[in-house]
Symmetry: C2
Subunit: 244 residues, 2 copies
């Protein structure tokens, strides 16, 4: 499995993903699920992927190929020249549909799950910062003030903390901590989600990825955060009133 | 869905279940999932059920019927005269298998899910306090010191807190709070789990249900606990070091 979370705040986007992919418990490997593109001063886009790896790799490869093709034919529409983030989400959705169509029959015959989901976040100059969740069928939804975050993959363990602390007004630094705490709870409770992690930040109206960081298993900062949260939770728990 | 949790401590058993059953989002009803039996001074048994309601009701009805039959034929083996808790788990498993066999063909034809799981906890005089998880196939596993709790139904939201605070040495009062906090996180994040709740405690070597309480949506104690936990979590979160 996978756990990816993207939080859309007034101040910007926080994106965090793990890197574990497994085909059964005995076949675990490491694949980055965060893919980012920048056009300096013009747009920054991050995709997070979950689900069948052959499908999500197919989507990313096709998106890259479209971008390469613009060297020959600048008229080709890509996520880097699309005229809105909404159109970017549509292109990802269309690409998803093409990859699904190509492989569905063969995969269905094998009984393989071909579900895949992609989080698409970013901003282009002239538009606002947006975050979309693209489904296997190519359709998508957008994050709004009522639900300012999306999770894909193993989302349940890490949802309670996000439900409690995230609003559109949450500062970027706090949301970064919330994403990490949400990931930490998931890592502790589910083996199919694993280190290292990929973290990215896109500040509103910056048109760039202002931070991109790989968090390795021995990352001291993440370790400190994880320990601090563990201690805080334990002491919060032990200070609860004995109402029963 | 459902959320039930049972925690086996040195000091006793804590059991907590919700009461929401749904056949689709538009068909929600209330069914108790906690069933208990006592033979004064001799044994106390609690069952928590999750999964297809027709299956779990079938299991409970058959177990009750076996008990009624002992009025006519005292030789009939039931969960109230079985000579060990292990045998009680076997009887529940055998009953599960019978109910599954009776309905499987028809349900398969309809494409209905017939999964069901039962937590079986309790103690009889002469034996130790034990906790089992019975699967749809009638097989079962037992809680041990390494894994002193079982969850059935929507278990993921409420697992992180249990993973962090529960050990066999946890006092009963603390475990009761942990079960409630685990339930509270689940209630907040998943609509298919709902109030009221049923709570039961079996103290080690007491051979009785020392506490049995229905927690209604307006329960002041549960409300206080929920608020206190929410505040504690929020302040724990806001006190986290800004490591990133």
């Amino acid at each position: 499995m996978t756990y990816c979370v993207a939080i859309k705040l007034d101040a910007g986007l926080v994106l965090l993903s793990d890197t574990r992919t497994n085909a059964g418990m005995d076949n675990i490997s490491r694949y980055g699920k965060m893919h980012s593109w920048e056009v300096p001063q013009e747009r920054a886009i991050v995709l997070l992927t979950a689900g069948n790896l052959s499908i999500t790799q197919g989507v990313i490869t096709r998106l890259e190929k479209q971008i390469e093709m613009t060297a020959v034919d600048p008229e080709v529409e890509t996520i880097l020249n699309a005229d809105s983030m909404f159109r970017v989400a549509q292109i990802v959705g269309e690409t998803m549909r093409q990859v699904q169509e190509r492989h569905r029959e063969g995969m269905e015959a094998q009984g393989t799950a071909f579900n895949a989901t992609v989080l698409v976040g970013g901003q282009r100059k002239g538009g606002s910062l947006r975050l979309f969740l693209v489904y296997s069928a190519g359709n998508f939804i957008e994050a709004t003030a009522d639900t300012p975050f999306f999770q894909i993959g193993e989302h349940k363990y890490g949802k309670p903390i996000l439900d409690r602390v995230i609003t559109p007004q949450t500062p970027l630094e706090k949301a970064k901590l919330a994403a990490c705490v949400s990931m930490d709870s998931t890592l502790r409770s589910n083996l199919s989600v694993g280190m290292p992690l990929d973290l990215a930040i896109i500040k509103t109206d910056s048109y760039e990825i202002s931070e991109r960081r790989r968090i390795e298993p021995d990352d001291k900062d993440f370790g400190r955060l994880s320990d601090a949260w563990s201690q805080a939770l334990n002491s919060a728990f032990h200070d609860l009133p004995h109402v029963f």
